[in-house]
Amino acid sequence: MGETKKNRIRITLSLILMIFLAIIVMIPFYFMLVASFKDTSTIFSNGLNVDLNFKKMNLDSYKSLWTNRNGIYWQWFKNSLIITILETVLVLAFTSMVGYGLAQYDFKGRKTIFAIVLIMMMVPSSILLLPLYKLVTQLGLMNTYAGVILPGIVPASAIFFFRQFCLGLSREFAESARIDGCGEFRIFWQIYVPLMKPAFGAMTILTTMNSWNDFLWPLIVMKSDANFVIPAGLLSAMTPYGNNYQLLFAGSVMSVIPILIVFALNQNQFIEGLTSGGVKG
C-alpha cells in the first residue's frame, strides 16, 4: 500500500513537471499566434505586445499573405514545398542505399568510406560556402531549385543513421534471396527497403525539417525574391524599406503547419526508427 502511494506521488510530481515544461515550450508559439492576429503597429509598440485583447485582434495579417506584393508569400511557400519534397525524396533514396551498402556488404574500402562519412558528419558544411557557390555558378545552377538541392542530397548524418539501422538487420534474408536467384538491387528494393520502414519514418521527419527550415544556402543560390524560401522571405520582410512587417507573424504561423503534418504522420515510426538502433554509436 505504501509503495503504491509513493508511486502515485512520484507520478503526480513527474506529471506536474512535464506539464510545466510543456507550457514553457509552447510560450513562443503562443506569442507567435497572438501576434499574428494583431496590427503591426500595436505588436511592436511594447517590445513584443502579446496581451490578449480580442477587440483589437483581427485577421488582417492573414489577409496580407494574399495581398502583400501580390501574394508573394505563397510563392515562397511553393518554393519551400518543392525544394523540401524533392530534397527529402532524393536524400532518402540515396542515403538508404549507401547506408545499406555499407552495412550489408564486406568490400574493400568500406572502412575508408565509413571513416569519410564520420568525418563529414563532424565538419560543418558552412566552411564550403564560397567554393560551393563558385561550383554552382560554374554549373549554371544559380537561381534554380537544383542549385539549392544538389549539394545536400547525400548527407553523411543520414547515411550514418541508415547504416546503423541496417547493421541490425540480418544478412540471411539476402543470402536466401540470392539462392533464389534474386538480383542485388532487387534484394535491397524488395526485401530490405520494407524492413527499413521505421528508419525511413525517422529520416523523413529529420530531412523534411532540415530542408524546410534551411535558410542560408537557398538564400545564397536564389537571386530573385520570387524564388526565396519561407525563412529567407520572412526575414526579407524585416526592413524599413517596405510595409511588409505584417507578413512576419502570420507567415510564421502558416510555415509551421506543413512540418507539423509531416511530424504527425510519421511520429510513431520516428520513435520506433530511432529506438531500433539508429543512433547507437
Binding site: S41, S45, R69, L86, V89, L90, Y145, V193, S236
Partner: protein
C-alpha cells in the same frame, strides 16, 4: 504489400528526378538574346525598395513612349543585405549581375572600393543635366573622376519635432537655433513631460554624420581616417552628454531610428525630436499614423555661427554594372529616369524624396496634394529650398570608408553611446589608430 512499398517509392523517386532535371533546364537563366521579339532591349534591375522598383517600372513605360530605343525592364526587389551581397559576389565573380542596380551609399563605398569599379560611368549621360543637379550628391558616387551612380534624392537633413510634446513642455521649437538651445529645450521637455528629447543611434550614423558635416568637417582625408579632429570629438561628446550627463536622451530602441521598434516608439509619442534626412518623411508617414499633422520640419540646430543648418544624409544611387548588355542605353535611361524634369517631379510625388534635380524645388507642383503634403503640410519645400545651398557631405567612397563605418558601428558607438565605457576622445583615437594601422 512489400512489393507495393518499393514500387511507390520508385515512382516518387522517378518523378523527383525528372522534376529536378526540368527545373535545372527551365530556370537556367539562359541569356540567349538581349532583345525581346518586338525589338525592346531587355534589362534587369535590382533594388531593395518596393516603391523604387515600381518607380523604375513606370519610368520604363514613359521612356518607351518618347524614345526610339525601347526598354523591357524586369525589376527584382530583394532584401537590403541580400541584394548587396548578391551584387558584390556577382560582380566579383564576373557573372550574374543585373544591368541596373540601386546601391545604398554605405554599400556604394564597398562597391566602389576597387581601383577599377565594376560599373559603367554615367558621365556623358549626365552632361546635359549637370547644371540642375546638386553636386555634393553626385560626389557621393564619384571615383577617379567618374560618376558611377545617380541618387534619388538630396537627403536634406532636418530636425523633426513632435509639436504636441513641444507644446506640453512649453518649448517653441522655432527658437532652437543651436545645439545648446536644443539641449536646454530637451531638459525642459524631460522635466515637464518625462519624454525623451532624442534617441541616439548606435547601429547607424545618420545624425552623427550630419552633425560632423554641418561643421564643414569630415572624418576621412586622403584615404586616412581623421576621426580625432575637433569636429568629430565635439559631436560624439555632445551625443554622449545627452544620454549620460544631461539625461535628455537615451539610446535608440533597436539600435537605430530607422527600424520597426523605433517607429513604434515614436508613434506612441515618446520622442520629442529626431534629426534625419528628408526621406525620413516617408518612414514617418508610413509607420507613424498617430502623429499626422503633429510633426514640424525645421532646419538643424548648429554648434557655431557659420555652421550649415543641414547636411546630405543617406542616399541610394542607381548604377549601371559593367555586365549590362547595353551599357550606354542603360546609363541614358537611368539618368533620364531621375534627372529629367517630369521624372524629378515623380520622385517627389511617388517616393516622397527631395529630387537631386533641385531647380524644380521652388515650383508650385511641389505643394500639390499628396501623401506627404497631407501629413506634414504644404510648405515642406519652403524649408528645403532655404537649405539647398547648405547640403554637403562627408567622404563616402574612399577605400577606407567601409572599414570606417564598420568599426564605428561595431566598436566606437557601442563603447561610448550604448555604454559609457570610454570618453569620446579616447574612443575616436582608438578607432583612428586601428583604421590607419
Amino acid at each position: 504489400m512489400k512489393k507495393n512499398f518499393g514500387k511507390k517509392i520508385g515512382l516518387v523517386l522517378l518523378t523527383a528526378l525528372t522534376t529536378i532535371g526540368l527545373a535545372a533546364c527551365g530556370n537556367g537563366g539562359s541569356s540567349s538574346s538581349n532583345k525581346t521579339a518586338d525589338g525592346k532591349t531587355k534589362m534587369t534591375m535590382w533594388t531593395f525598395v518596393d516603391a523604387q522598383g515600381t518607380f523604375f517600372k513606370n519610368a520604363a513605360k514613359s521612356w518607351n513612349k518618347t524614345h526610339k530605343q525601347k526598354i523591357d525592364l524586369t525589376v527584382n526587389v530583394l532584401p537590403f543585405d541580400q541584394m548587396n551581397q548578391k551584387l558584390t559576389v556577382a560582380l566579383q565573380s564576373g557573372s550574374g549581375a543585373p544591368d541596373i542596380a540601386d546601391v545604398e551609399l554605405g554599400q556604394g563605398a564597398i562597391q566602389l572600393k576597387a581601383d577599377k569599379p565594376a560599373y559603367y560611368p554615367l558621365n556623358s549621360a549626365l552632361k546635359p543635366y549637370m547644371n540642375n543637379l546638386v553636386k555634393s550628391r553626385l560626389d557621393n558616387f564619384k571615383k577617379n573622376g567618374n560618376y558611377y551612380g545617380l541618387d534619388y534624392h538630396v537627403g536634406t537633413t532636418v530636425t523633426y519635432y513632435n509639436t504636441d510634446i513641444m507644446k506640453a513642455a512649453g518649448v517653441d521649437y522655432t527658437k532652437i537655433k543651436t545645439w545648446d538651445d536644443y539641449e536646454k529645450a530637451g531638459e525642459q521637455v524631460k522635466a515637464k513631460t518625462g519624454k525623451w528629447m532624442n534617441e541616439v543611434e548606435y547601429s547607424a550614423m545618420f545624425q552623427y554624420d550630419a552633425m560632423v558635416t554641418q561643421q564643414h568637417a569630415d572624418y576621412i582625408k586622403n584615404d586616412k581616417a581623421t576621426l580625432t579632429n575637433a569636429a568629430n570629438v565635439r559631436v560624439l561628446t555632445q551625443l554622449q552628454n545627452w544620454i549620460y550627463k544631461d539625461k535628455i536622451a537615451r539610446t535608440a530602441v533597436g539600435g537605430s531610428i530607422d527600424n520597426d521598434q523605433f517607429f513604434a516608439e515614436m508613434n506612441k509619442g515618446n520622442v520629442a525630436s529626431v534629426t534625419m534626412p528628408s526621406w525620413y518623411m516617408e518612414r514617418i508617414a508610413d509607420h507613424m499614423p498617430k502623429l499626422k499633422g503633429k510633426i514640424a520640419i525645421a532646419p538643424m540646430p548648429v554648434f557655431n555661427e557659420g555652421d550649415y543648418r543641414s547636411a546630405g544624409g543617406g542616399g541610394t544611387g542607381t548604377m549601371v554594372t559593367n555586365q549590362a548588355s547595353n551599357k550606354k542605353l542603360a546609363a541614358k535611361f537611368v539618368v533620364w529616369a531621375k534627372a529629367s524634369k517630369g521624372q524629378a517631379v515623380k520622385i517627389w510625388e511617388d517616393l516622397g524624396f527631395d529630387p537631386v534635380r533641385s531647380d524644380i524645388w521652388s515650383e508650385p507642383v511641389m505643394k500639390e496634394d499628396n501623401k506627404y503634403t497631407r501629413y506634414f503640410g504644404k510648405d515642406i519645400f519652403d524649408t528645403f529650398v532655404q537649405l539647398k545651398s547648405q547640403v554637403t557631405s562627408t567622404t563616402k567612397t574612399a577605400k577606407i570608408s567601409p572599414d570606417l563605418n564598420d568599426y564605428m558601428l561595431k566598436n566606437t558607438f557601442p563603447s561610448t553611446l550604448l555604454k559609457d565605457k570610454m570618453t569620446p576622445k579616447a574612443a575616436l583615437q582608438k578607432a583612428n589608430d586601428a583604421l590607419n594601422k
